[in-house]
């Protein structure tokens, strides 16, 4: 489904991604782990098409099509979904209006008729229950005044509404308490499907207790330095990143979480 070859990207002239290679097939769940600053969010943002990041070489194809030459909205309509590490607050645009516009843009792209307000409301209520968000949140501004956990649940809610082909989840587990982590991982597990690929970016292994990945990759300084099965995540938890020769001050302190 997704094929990343020798991907280099930089921001403000500074190279962040230094040759990423990654193949993801439909139905698979891949986890990317790595210390802070290793380039995980950069990779996620580049895949979603954020032009604050410049791709300097390499290629990304999705189902055989060149992803990099498409606009962000086209990628989204083709099924790319990014759950943001830091979801943006947009006061003045209600969550409901935002999601309905989004769902209808996708439907329009597929040649389907728009969902009317009532149909949409019904769907939105159901899905909000699934991620344990009070439907009252739908009326608030997009992410406006949401707690960290509420923002993450809102991202998962959008993924469930949009049913993407490729879901990229950037640290969707960070800042969640145990209960919220359960809700979010149930949501992600509900997304697992044969025709869908999931790329999970995480700093800690604890999410992987709930969502068992098929593959784990370690990203350090803009490169994938090691790939393996889920046992790699466990090993990282036991031994930190240091045994791979990677410096990471935080993980040692936080691995107990």
């Amino acid at each position: 489904m997704l094929s990343i070859k020798n991907l280099h990207a930089s921001v403000e002239g500074k190279e962040i991604l230094k040759g990423i290679n990654l193949e993801i097939k439909a139905g698979e769940v891949h986890a990317i782990m790595g210390p802070n600053g290793s380039g995980k969010s950069t990779l996620s943002q580049v895949l979603a098409g954020n032009d604050a990041f410049e791709v300097t070489s390499g290629s990304v194809t999705m189902n055989g099509e060149n992803l990099l030459e498409k606009e962000t909205e086209e990628r989204a309509r083709d099924g790319v979904f990014l759950a943001f590490q830091y979801p943006v607050e947009i006061p003045g645009v209600s969550n409901l209006q935002f999601m309905r516009t989004s769902v209808n843009a996708m439907r329009h792209h597929r040649g389907e008729s728009e969902m009317n307000a009532a149909e949409f409301m019904k769907l939105a209520r159901e899905v909000s229950k699934q991620v344990d968000l009070d439907p009252a949140f739908l009326k608030r501004g997009v992410n406006e005044g949401f707690s960290g956990g509420e923002k993450k649940r809102n991202e998962i809610m959008q993924a469930l509404m949009l049913q993407p082909k490729l879901a990229i989840l950037d640290e969707t587990d960070s800042g969640l308490d145990i209960d919220a982590l359960k809700v979010v991982s149930d949501g992600v597990n509900a997304l697992r499907a044969e025709d869908r690929a999931i790329l999970m970016v995480t700093h800690y292994q604890r999410l992987l207790d709930h969502i068992v990945p098929d593959f784990v990759h370690v990203l350090a300084d803009g490169k994938i330095v090691k790939s393996g099965g889920r046992e790699l995540a466990l090993e990282l938890e036991d031994r930190g990143y240091a045994w791979l020769g990677i410096k990471d001050d935080e993980t040692a302190a936080n691995s107990a979480n």
Binding site: A48, G49, N50, A52, E71, T72, E73, A76, R77, F81, L82, F84, P87, V88, I90, P91, G92, V93, Q97, F98, M99, T101, S102, A105, M106, H109, G141, V142, Q158, L162
Partner: protein, 429 residues
């Protein structure tokens, strides 16, 4: 030696229409005489600094537009309405409420005694030195409306005033309204300024409100004239004890748009809320000058203005709050936020605070910015088209103010005009 200032052309000092009571004719004459040496605003005129270059009055525009004939394209609005065409009321197109405690009279229908009483009060809400063009209106009006609300009078629906100019020839119009709101009376007055025809015209309007104790008035002002209309308008308000004035000014740009809004809180516990939205595009202009005078103690004012400027347009906001020495426990809030949709657009904003009392709460803030790139990316990453994302974010900037407009028909009109604006402003997005 200073060069002699350019004066208002004498061509502008000939009022038309004599069908007015004698006291009003005399007032007109007196005001006209006072304008003989009125200097035209220039770059150096403080309160016209950013706008004088847009004011292009020619002698062809000095003549009053004809007041007979067709009623133009006056909107089909529901309920009570009064239609002005070129500054003169069209009774056949109007629909007055039929109530004993609300009197709506044309200037021409006033008795001499009533007219004398009105003469005492006209211009009383506006400082003629600060708002010179209000004086021009008084020198030129041909007709006008006095709306008198007796104590406790309340109109069950909004009263619409449609001000249309039919610009089939060059000329000018001087619509005038005076609202005398008695104790505890209530009214929502909607003013819509529209135009038809293509010739260059000048509209010079004045609306005044005097609010007695406990009166509660809402004024919605929609400025939607065409690209051929230069409009200088003023709204003056005086408020007595515990009265409340709420204003919603929505303006779309033009070759010259100027609105002065002046509110004097003269009675203890009076309260005003002023909302404003301005949208400009192409090479349009819009200038709002507001002044809130806290004269009496314990008054509240809350002002929220938003400007959106696209293309090469130019919006100006000047908000002055003046807290007089006796106005202890004043509470004044002013917020002005500005959105530039293009690098060629210009917005000038200036809050002015003059505080002469010590026990007051006064907050103000002004910002100028562009659409947030991160927010745009977030929206398009959900498949929302770039154009639509721009529209959503621009609407987000003014939504709070648009939804507060308390009349649905007006909100619909505003939304429709905004859609046109977006179609053009984001056509290349």
């Amino acid at each position: 030696m200073k060069p002699a200032p350019t004066l208002l052309s004498p061509a502008f000092l000939h009022p038309a229409g004599q069908a007015l009571p004698e006291p009003l004719l005399a007032l007109r004459k007196q005001r006209g005489a006072a304008l003989v040496d009125m200097p035209m605003p220039t770059r150096k005129t403080e309160n016209w600094k950013y706008s004088s270059k847009y004011l292009k009055l020619t002698d062809e525009m000095a003549t009053s537009l004809p007041t007979t004939g067709k009623t133009g394209s006056a909107l089909a609005v529901p309920g009570y309405k009064v239609v002005f065409i070129n500054g003169v009321v069209m009774p056949e197109a109007s629909e007055y409420p039929d109530l004993d405690n609300i009197r709506i009279q044309r200037f021409g229908d006033l008795s001499d005694a009533e007219a004398s009483d009105l003469v005492e009060r006209l211009d009383s809400t506006l400082d003629a030195k600060a708002v010179q063009f209000a004086g021009l209106n008084t020198a030129r009006f041909e007709d006008g409306l006095v709306i008198r609300l007796k104590p406790d009078a309340a109109l069950d629906q909004p009263l619409f005033i449609i001000h249309e100019v039919t610009a089939d020839a060059s000329g000018s119009a001087f619509p005038r309204i005076f609202v005398d709101a008695g104790r505890n009376s209530q009214l929502t007055l909607v003013e819509e300024y529209i135009s038809s025809g293509e010739e260059a015209v000048f509209v010079n309007s004045v609306t005044e409100f005097t609010l007695a104790e406990g009166a509660n008035i809402t004024n919605i002002r929609l400025s939607m004239g065409g690209e051929n209309v230069q409009h200088i308008g003023a709204t003056g308000v005086t408020q007595q004890r515990s009265s409340r004035f709420e204003s919603h000014c929505v303006g779309f740009g033009g070759p010259l748009r100027r609105h002065d809004l002046r509110v004097r809180l003269e009675g203890k516990g009076a309260e005003c809320k002023l909302n404003g939205v301005v949208v400009t595009q192409d090479t349009q202009h819009y200038d709002n000058h507001t002044t809130i005078e806290h004269v009496a103690p314990n008054c509240d004012s809350e002002e929220t203005y938003r400007n959106i400027a696209a293309d090469k347009s130019h919006a100006v906001f000047n908000g002055r709050i003046h807290i007089h020495p006796d106005a202890q426990k004043s509470n004044a809030n002013m917020s002005n936020k500005n959105l530039l949709l293009s690098t060629g657009a210009e917005i000038d904003t200036k809050p002015e605070l003059e505080i002469y009392a010590d026990d007051v709460k006064c907050a103000h803030g002004a910002t100028i910015g562009q659409l947030n790139e991160e927010s745009l990316f977030y929206l398009v990453s959900r498949g929302i088209g770039r154009r639509e994302a721009n529209v959503l974010l621009t609407m987000a900037f003014i939504n709070e103010l648009v939804t507060q407009i308390p009349v649905e028909a007006v909100r619909d009109t505003v939304q429709a005009r905004l859609s046109q604006f977006f179609d053009q402003a984001f056509q290349e997005v």
